[in-house]
């Protein structure tokens, strides 16, 4: 959790964005993230992001649901509170299957949504820095981290040459903090301006 310096480039079109991403990576700059108004197919590959592990997590949540449902129902109906239901055996697997299925789906769905929100740092009352207000509207925004070796001016020229129509420098907090997007506009480490300065 630290504020870092970024160079931000704005693009108009995904057809310009893709070659730009490739050029930036080939030049060895470190892309912090690319923000797009809609999901862009293949951008994750172009950026060299690793495959998500979300589905593995989903599988683990699912089998947790399966075992929870089966073991709980088996324990209840054979040990804790055996009941005679329609003369069926106490351990009657076919009757358990629908509930097992539902719990599998419930666990994996809820678990995956929560994991997804955690990975994206999405939650109510949690705020993240927005690099450009139009990144959710019609602009493709690429944020590049400025490290010790990166020359900021050189990078700005590079982005302009790659097709960015708006390039600027920002210092931003990479993590999230408590706050609301509609109430509070200031950056994490920004001091409020004195009222009567």
């Amino acid at each position: 959790m630290a504020a870092k310096k970024f160079v931000v480039g704005c693009f108009d079109d995904e057809a310009v964005l893709f070659p730009a991403v490739k050029k930036v990576r080939a030049a060895g700059y470190k892309i912090h993230d690319v923000y797009t108004p809609f999901p862009v197919h293949g951008l994750d590959h172009a950026m060299g992001l690793r495959e998500t592990s979300l589905h593995t997590a989903g599988f683990i949540y699912g089998i947790t649901g399966t075992t929870t449902a089966l073991s709980f129902m088996s324990w209840v109906f054979t040990t804790d509170w055996p009941m005679n239901i329609g003369g069926k055996p106490h351990f009657s697997l076919p009757a358990f299957i629908p509930i097992t299925f539902e719990l599998t789906v419930l666990f994996s769905a809820v678990g995956m949504v929560l994991t997804f929100c955690y990975l994206c740092q999405l939650a109510p009352f949690v705020k993240k820095h927005v690099f450009h207000p139009r990144q959710t509207d019609d602009k493709f925004v690429m944020a590049i981290e400025v490290t010790g070796k990166t020359g900021a001016d050189e990078l700005k020229n590079f982005l302009t040459a790659a097709g960015a129509h708006e390039v600027h420098e920002q210092t931003a907090e990479t993590g999230w903090w408590l706050g609301r997007f509609d109430r509070e506009d200031r950056l994490f480490n920004e001091q409020p301006a004195p009222l009567n300065a």
Partner: protein, 402 residues
């Protein structure tokens, strides 16, 4: 670009060998399966195999209809494959028709005991059902359904071939979409009323004429549909491996794999829905069907069926990498087709032959039908270019990305 399929001599020979095995098995069966009991098995095996392979081929027509109606563009790169498979429908349909007519009018009432008029008279359940289960209705329904399937299949195929000769323009593009949508809509209705409702009741469920299940047709549909998708995947992989279908890549295979995965689960859903309601209610007239299968000697086949068609596809096809792997999908597709062939085996045999037996005869016939299907499909594939070049959605299929 290799766009025109040329039938390799090796594959043609292989299809002839398989057909030869089928015919040989049939002849051996004619001799070895003697007597009244043997004759029952002889005809039950033919019934099982012919209906299975007809419905699997028909799944390709349904694939064309469903993707066209959903405006799915991704399948255009290999659209000629389901078209070619569907063209096996007229031939297989004719075989099924002949087989059914011999069974119904040839006095084979060990397959369908509702054929025995004397017996039906004294059987309250069967006499109630005789408005539905009688020779006239059975024949009429069979003629109409097979006729309509063949008609629509040939119509869709001919339209697709005809469109290759048109000039590409926005107007022809719209015309292609419109007329395909109309004809596919028509077929979807026919399919829903036949495979989705009455045909499996007549052909297969009436073996256990006292028993009934409204799920049965959907169950049969799910079984043949997932096998049909696997068959499409097999031919696509075969062509791709031989350098055809340039536009097809892992993305298309991935989507076919998803279909195979999803409809394996769909089949299980219907399998379980049919079983659980009968298990819960526990009424003798309904449990009669499952008694030999779950508690009789068919128990191993019953559970093998579940393992082959649910547990293995579920676990094997779950990973993304497997669905994108040509070799893996090939083996799983063969597994699924065999699994559902076995499903048909356990649907037909306990009601006809009764005791559990090793299916050497049924397998031999099955190989014969596999050979016949390969023979028909490769000839159809060689008849036309492998890419429908005028279809407006072709580009969508080329740039397809899952």
């Amino acid at each position: 670009m290799k766009d025109q399929f040329v039938v390799p001599a090796k594959l043609r020979t292989a299809s002839f060998v398989l057909m030869g095995i089928g015919v040989l098995t049939l002849l051996i069966g004619l001799v070895a399966l003697g007597g009244e009991h043997g004759a029952t098995r002889f005809w039950a095996g033919i019934l099982q195999n012919s209906t299975f392979f007809l419905l699997v081929a028909l799944a390709s027509t349904f694939f064309i209809a469903a993707t066209t109606l959903a405006h799915g563009g991704w399948q255009l790169a290999f659209r000629r494959v389901p078209e070619a498979i569907s063209m096996a429908v007229p031939v297989l349909g004719a075989i099924v028709f002949i087989v059914l007519m011999i069974i119904v009018f040839g006095g084979k009432d060990h397959i369908y005991h509702w054929l025995d008029a004397e017996h039906v008279k004294h059987d309250r359940v069967l006499s109630w059902k005789s408005a539905f289960l009688n020779k006239g209705f059975f024949t009429t329904a069979t003629v109409i359904t097979i006729g309509l399937w063949a008609f629509f299949t040939v119509k869709l195929r001919n339209m697709s071939l005809q469109e290759d000769t048109w000039d590409l323009s926005p107007d022809t593009g719209r015309r292609i979409l419109w007329r395909n949508t109309v004809w596919c809509g028509g077929f979807a209705v026919i399919f829903a009323l036949s495979v989705g409702s009455t045909t499996p009741w007549l052909w297969l469920m009436s073996i256990d004429a006292h028993w009934f299940s409204t799920m049965y047709s959907w169950y049969t549909f799910a079984s043949t549909w997932v096998s049909g998708l696997s068959l499409i995947a097999l031919f696509v992989i075969y062509l791709k491996k031989n350098g055809y279908l340039t536009f097809v890549n892992e993305e298309h295979l991935h989507d076919l794999g998803k279909f195979m995965f999803a409809f394996s689960i769909f089949w299980t859903y219907l399998w379980f829905s049919q079983y659980m309601l009968i298990w819960y209610a526990n009424m003798p007239e309904e449990t009669a069907y499952f008694q030999p299968r779950v508690w009789g000697e068919w128990r191993p086949v019953f559970f093998l069926n579940l393992i082959l068609n649910f547990i293995l596809p579920l676990l094997l096809l779950m990973k993304r990498d497997t669905k994108r792997n040509y070799t893996a999908v090939t083996y799983i597709a063969i597994l699924i087709i065999f699994g559902h062939w076995l499903d048909f085996f356990q649907m037909v045999m306990p009601g006809t032959v009764r005791e559990l037996h090793f299916p050497w005869y049924e397998l031999g016939l099955g190989l014969g039908f596999v050979g016949l299907t390969i023979f028909l499909v490769i000839n159809q594939l060689a008849k036309a270019p492998l890419v429908p070049k005028n279809h407006p959605y072709l580009k969508e299929s080329i740039v397809h990305h899952t």
